[in-house]
Amino acid sequence: MATKDEKRFTVLDLLDLDLKEQNALNLRCIGGRKGLPRVITTPDLNRPGLALSGFYESFAWQRLQIFGRGENAYLKMLAEEGKTEVLEKLFTYPMPCCIFTHNLAPNREFFDSAEAADCPILQTDLSSSELSSRVLRVLSDIFSPQTTLHGVLVEVYGIGILLSGDSGVGKSETALELVERGHRLVADDVVEIRCVNGSILMGQGANKVIGHHMEIRGLGIINVTHLFGVGAIRDKKQIQLVCGLEEWDANKVYDRIGTEEMTTEILGVRVPKLEIPVKPGRNIPIIIETAAMNERLKKMGYHSAQEFNQNVLRWLESENARALYFNRDDYL
């Protein structure tokens, strides 16, 4: 498992993010373009009100600076009073960018100072509070720990299953049959996994451009979206179960009962794991489907193997009691 080093995330990357609906930031750059390669180092934002009024102690300049209606009105007042030294002081700090909400545009003086300092000015039509919650959500996603694993991620009956195993064991073929049976492909071969909120593992393809393609031995590379339709794919999915496919090993002991839960750890999160031996005559896709349904049943509070064993124990006990009763001396 290769844990990725923290990648440099620039303001330009923030603008380039393909975010939809409730995550859209609607940002555009209205000035200081030269500063777009500035790196965002912390997933946080700051309202620079105190800094504007001249108090720079503990000024969190590393964060994204949000200018709302209040800050903009204050800037306007400063400009009217001709206090340009405030801006000069502000832009001595290498802030990643200044974001104006409510489609506000800063005054000329602010523009010029930002251009001179190569600090990007972004604008959005969202309100300050809405932008804050969205930015925090988006940045915490980006700054979350991530890793890339070799495997195939599919969604089966709503359960995100990561098929892992060595090359040539039949992961892609299994996924192909699952897709054929109406399930969904999330990523083939390279699965990028992020740990969101410290407990949820989100998996997705590493690259949008070449995503949802599969390599099947004998066929070559196929486009799953075109062949099976958009219903057969999904952009990302939480990983809820790991199925390790491996060549059948006659000397290995496989789980025959299933009362004990095996787990594996990805990015510090424990995920249930099954080891599924592969050999001719074993229909792996159907086993995976059953595993997915069994996992759903477990989530609903019904554990097949444990319940079965409880019943066996209860039955043995009642048989025992009957035998004791009938074998009593006074009965005879």
């Binding site: 290769a2 844990t3 890339t148 070799h150 040539g168 071969d189 390279v190 393609h213 390599e215 590379i221």
Partner: protein, 88 residues
């Protein structure tokens, strides 16, 4: 564990054909083989993995193999890169 670093010498970078060549070569060895670009590490026996690396002309790539025939494996992959995948 055996390692080597190489830069991509063919103009087109690693597209489908070179990726297939790498996989064919890697699959001949029983060792585990990885390719690493920056901090991304992928299995060299997976075509989609190699293409996903997005390795273009001049990119440095680290070849890592681990197993009984690791030295031969690294050398064979290295030779492929050096021969520009029989392109250009």
């Amino acid at each position: 564990m055996n390692e080597a670093t190489v830069t991509i010498k063919n103009r087109a970078g690693i597209h489908a054909r070179p990726a297939a060549l790498i996989v064919q070569t890697a699959s001949k060895y029983s060792s585990k083989i990885w390719l690493e670009k920056d901090s991304d590490r992928i299995n060299a026996k997976s075509i989609m993995g190699i293409i996903t690396l997005g390795a273009s002309f001049g990119t440095p790539i680290r070849i890592i193999s681990d197993g009984s025939d690791e030295e031969a494996a690294t050398a064979a992959i290295l030779a492929l890169f050096e021969s520009k995948f029989e392109e250009d």
